[in-house]
Symmetry: C2
Subunit: 502 residues, 2 copies
């Protein structure tokens, strides 16, 4: 058994190395690669992905799992051995159900779809994108057909991002968010709250310097992290000792600051995985929702919270005296938390953000279920934007074409954003109980307590446990939108100086 386990470990170490190679090819493509190499990079990526897939689905992996499963049955499920066998079995079964041909078709349709989407968005013309979207949908249905035992075809897609969560469970959370947030947004819309000073002139050099001072306090160090500022915000965890985040600066807003906090949160999760899990499939987040809980925690619960603002704001005023010199902390704090229905998801505030997600979740379920004809998609989008957020969509570019997910076949991904929001508050409340001095620490710029607590209850576990169990260990409870809704209501009441009502 020990020998079989070592063999399995060696094999999955190789798969993990090849997956890190895929991520490096992607990171390099985004951040570093000369543009003319786009075609050949696509081939290099396809080769690396194919080789990783072949190694993972090698029949010998199945044989080793068969041999090891009875042996780990008696082990504590907390052990490395039991976790590894369980996770590899899951990955192995998912990977081998999909033929190499379908995989290649999916990859090609995603690449083509992305190129067509870029063009269609530039021209704000959904009809240009429609055939590529149709092809992606069709392939996704063929992908779903590779699996069985699901209640809803959407289960299969969601499971790739949020393992073991059923669509019905996600829908319960998202329906509740819709029901409670649509009226809350309507209530806040139209109230006066000046945030005009958040648009103006924030010299990029000062933004860079501020972030370069802030990040090391948060836990970033040059030995294990990189920050690049030439592409859109993203995080690439190549290994627990190789965390790369990226951002983009606009001279006119402070959005980079919050996106850096967001990507730092993703990076910290991967950074603080138990080093013993390096080169195993356990070195990573347990699910996309849990990953997002960490980015949201740092972006919103730390970053848009009052204690952190008390620490940060004097530095912001010093960096941008012309823009913020006359603005009080209170006005700044209220402005960055303003509830403000808008067209673009990635620009949305904490409250309205979720309604963008609900909309996409509903539409993709209807598309996949054949209940919404593709031709009607833009109208359905626009109608729901009006219904949920009260905004009118002026064109496809600012409507149905704004996100890249569907162009690459990423159906089932969107819900994880809101699931992460929900989880972030549950984990945050547990942190506040465990760290009574948390507010004082944040106000002083001391993030070590929070960072270490997150490592102990969540990060170090990586993918060792199911997302459900990981959540229980981190938050002390199952996923529950209640605390998140309370938080949004209370915070928005505070911002708008109203009495909270439940």
């Amino acid at each position: 058994v020990n020998r079989a386990f070592e063999q399995l470990r060696r094999r999955v170490a190789e798969v993990t190395d090849l997956e890190a190679v895929v991520m490096l090819l992607e990171w390099d493509f985004e951040v570093m690669m000369p543009r003319a190499a786009t075609t050949v990079r696509g081939e290099q990526l396809a080769t690396a992905e194919r080789v990783a897939h072949e190694r993972l689905t090698d029949p010998e992996v199945g044989r080793l799992l068969d041999e090891l499963e009875p042996a780990v049955d008696g082990l504590d499920p907390d052990t490395f051995e039991a976790s590894l066998v369980r996770v590899v079995r899951r990955d192995f079964e998912k990977a081998r159900r999909v033929s190499a041909d379908l995989r290649a078709d999916l990859a090609r349709a995603a690449a083509d779809g992305h190129a067509v989407w870029v063009e269609a968005r530039e021209r704000s013309d959904f009809t240009r994108f429609r055939p590529a979207l149709e092809r992606n949908l069709e392939l996704k249905l063929r992908y779903v057909a590779c699996f069985d035992g699901y209640d809803d075809p959407y289960d299969v897609l969601l499971d790739d991002y949020e393992p073991d969560l059923k669509t019905a469970e996600a829908a319960e959370v998202l329906d509740r968010l819709r029901e409670e947030l649509v009226p809350l947004v309507a209530e806040r819309t139209g109230e006066v709250l000046d945030d005009s000073f958040l648009t103006g002139t924030f010299p990029v050099q000062q933004q860079r310097e501020l972030e370069r001072r802030l990040l090391p306090l948060l836990g970033y160090d040059e030995e294990t992290w990189r920050l690049d500022d030439i592409v859109h915000p993203a995080q690439f965890g190549l290994a627990p000792t190789d965390i790369r985040i990226s951002t983009r600066y606009s001279e006119h807003t402070l959005e980079s600051l919050f996106s850096v906090l967001h990507e730092f949160g993703h990076g910290l999760y991967e950074r603080q995985v138990d080093p013993a899990l390096t080169r195993t499939p356990l070195a990573g987040g347990a699910s996309l929702g849990l990953h997002e809980s960490q980015s949201r925690l740092w972006e919103n619960l730390v970053g848009r919270g009052l204690p952190f603002c008390r620490f940060l704001y004097p530095q912001l005023q010093e960096a941008f005296p012309e823009q913020l010199g006359e603005i009080t902390l209170d006005r700044f704090y209220r402005a960055i938390n303003k509830v403000k229905p808008s067209l673009i998801r990635v620009d949305a505030d904490e409250v309205t953000y979720n309604l963008h997600i609900v909309l996409r979740f509903e539409l993709e379920r209807e598309l996949l279920g054949g209940r919404l004809p593709l031709d009607s998609l833009p109208d359905a989008w626009n109608e729901r934007m009006h219904r949920y957020l009260g905004v009118e969509v002026p064109d496809d570019a600012r409507g149905v074409l704004q996100d890249s997910h569907w162009s690459g076949g990423g159906f089932g991904y969107f819900p994880t954003y809101s699931l992460g929001n929900v989880a972030s508050v549950q984990i945050w409340q547990r942190a506040r109980e465990a760290l009574p001095a948390l507010d004082d620490d944040l106000e002083r710029g001391d993030f070590s307590g929070l960072r270490e607590w997150l490592r102990d209850v969540l990060h170090r576990n990586g993918r060792k446990f199911t997302p459900r169990e990981t959540m229980e260990r981190a938050a002390g409870a199952a996923l529950d939108p209640g605390p998140y809704l309370d938080y949004l209501r209370e915070k928005s009441a505070e911002i708008y100086r109203l009495t909270a009502r439940k």
Copy 2:
């Protein structure tokens, strides 16, 4: 046959992709990677190399070659098909003779050897390095034993860098360089030629700007190239559309300028390979010597030549007025071509450089042949430095420990530097015949004629032909040290204002 050829092509495309991945992992390690990831990056590299090797040595590749060889026998050897089959057969046979275990031992010994060498060099202590060198030598002899049909064990090692060239042929060239250059160096040493103004203050920002203006004129463009300036000089060709060069600036010298010309020469060779050879093993230089001929051509024959200096020097004076404002073009030109025996190979001038190579070539042959005991290596090094260059080696760091090649088992590599020097002049003379206005073009900063001529006679062929045939096509003759020695004698005579004698 067509089907078999397509299958072979698909397989070698995959191998080429994986080799590009290895190069990206190495480039990223040198230029971008957070330092703490060193260990895991070693594993990632080993995995990528192992997978590339397994794919290349797959028995199916052998079967396809067996099927295709009779078919391409009737083809013109110029054809893509004939070349591909020939080159893949060569790579396949070389790769499959060496067991995976020996390959792993070699890689590990190289990595360990490198780490020990860094330490030993810091302490200038050969005895610390000795065991690692012994291990590398021992493994190299085991590597040699995997092959047969050689005249000299060194043939096997040389063949990895300079395919099909025998040690006796390389020795003939290097012996002649030693015989004619030792007296030439002795003659020049001690003559007065002021180059003190090449050391001083050259602000890095101005160096960067100058190179960024110069490179696009040479043929560098942002669509297909990168230049990074945070590591030692190197070139990484990931694909003909993805060429990466690197350099390092010293505020005290202009060495970066010449190293950028050098790396540009390497990059241009890979850049101008026929695009149809992309994702095949034919997309690259025919040998390291031919590669070096291109870097040397741009560094020395263009860069240290008078016509280019006429173009460049006014810009240098403008960029560094305090340092060069009072120095005439003639003094600058003579100074950058000064013959100046020195301790360190990479700092050597055109003439003395070759004697550094001769020394290493002789010592490594003696070590591998068992004629030089390891303990005597530092003394042998120092004695030969005295004999060939008239310099006294003060310590091991500036002597036997100065180069990293042996620490990584790179025996057989050194001769290619001088072979490249020799070839560079033969190719250059052919270029001068073909391009009568070359001097005028260089003086005007027009490099397009030279660049295109090099593409047509050399670069576009990639690895399609043997190095010998590639050389014949580029230079119109076989490798011959005569023109190179004439060039060195004439140039040094011009620099020192003597009458050339032959």
